[in-house]
Symmetry: C2
Subunit: 238 residues, 2 copies
Amino acid sequence: MTTLKLVPTSVSLVEKAMVRVRDYIRDNDLKVGATLPGEGHFAAELGVSRAVMREAFGALAALHQIDVANGRRAKVAAIDGSVMASSIDHAVATSQVSVADVWDVRRALELRTVALAAQNCTPDQAAAILAAAEGMAAAAHDISLLSRADIELHRAIASASGNPLFLQIVRSFEGLLEVAVPRAWDTRETEQQRRDMLARHLEIAQAVASHDVGGAIAAMDAHFDASIGDLIRNGDAA
Amino acid sequence: MTTLKLVPTSVSLVEKAMVRVRDYIRDNDLKVGATLPGEGHFAAELGVSRAVMREAFGALAALHQIDVANGRRAKVAAIDGSVMASSIDHAVATSQVSVADVWDVRRALELRTVALAAQNCTPDQAAAILAAAEGMAAAAHDISLLSRADIELHRAIASASGNPLFLQIVRSFEGLLEVAVPRAWDTRETEQQRRDMLARHLEIAQAVASHDVGGAIAAMDAHFDASIGDLIRNGDAA
């Protein structure tokens, strides 16, 4: 390994370059998939080096605001939950936020997504929600299949809310769910506990599908009461 | 400008490098402020170039998971709302999400933060919340001062919730609020409209300070009904 110290590019120049690209997107009213000018265009316009622009494009790509594929022009990117997911995973990994804190935020959001889904869901969306709840029951003791159907149910409800920001935030919890959900199912020791949890999920799905807003909220609330109870029993809530 | 094409570093190598740094933080149970090994350490360990590691560090810094200051070792970073803020601002700027969508998410979150704040706030937190509401009234017709106090009130409530994830998500809306709040106040044409809005904020603050959970939720809900009504009238809700 070399001892050569790479001179760090000034953070403020990179930030200025990032702001310029964001302003370009906004001022030109660009939508998802629209092509951006190359790094060279912005570098010349701002009077900064290609290296600075390259770092700015890299940071914007890390934030999923632009897509950069090798050899092609950068495009405006669609939001996806992965940026928030990455923040939340980091906060939990470094003990800045507990799993119980995350679950309380999820509850606040999902009490609303379930109400909106019960109000707004189309027949196709209702069918997908019911299918996910039935998939959980059909998975029986295959915890991995069951967990996937559980995550899919919450995602289908958020999707049926009709508000894409709810969907993205709910999806940003999926990384944690992939760890926590199988663990929670593993610790539901008795058949009765498992049957109760499956029944609660089916109840949520049926209330949404039949446009029963109050019932959907009550069933989701009962579900979170039980899950947060599980978390606390498992010592994840610290 | 040169026509030299910089060869893009493989995205998958950079992603692999990012995962390695995240795993290092997790496996060593590092907390905010802890110092990371240099880029050279990870480059040697992974058998990748310094350029790849430098890009990975840059992406992690863009995601506010590490802090890189010129000439110093990278440190584990504290979460702040700016990453989610940047995602939300991008989604709104590119019409993927409407301002009304954002306000509905805020409402879901802030109905819970206000309930938690009413349950949990310390005397100092209650004083800060009341001071912000009184600051709004004292600002009279200085819209900029009034808007700052309005944003401060919502932040103080989220802070008093005791759940740092709520605080960071609520803070991530502040960029939009800095635009939307002065605009909403500008369009409250009559003295009566302004007085009503100030009274609703004071009502929220007083309910929180007196630990009246139900009253705090009801007052916050009335506030959002009114603000979302303003948005729709101003045509921001499209």
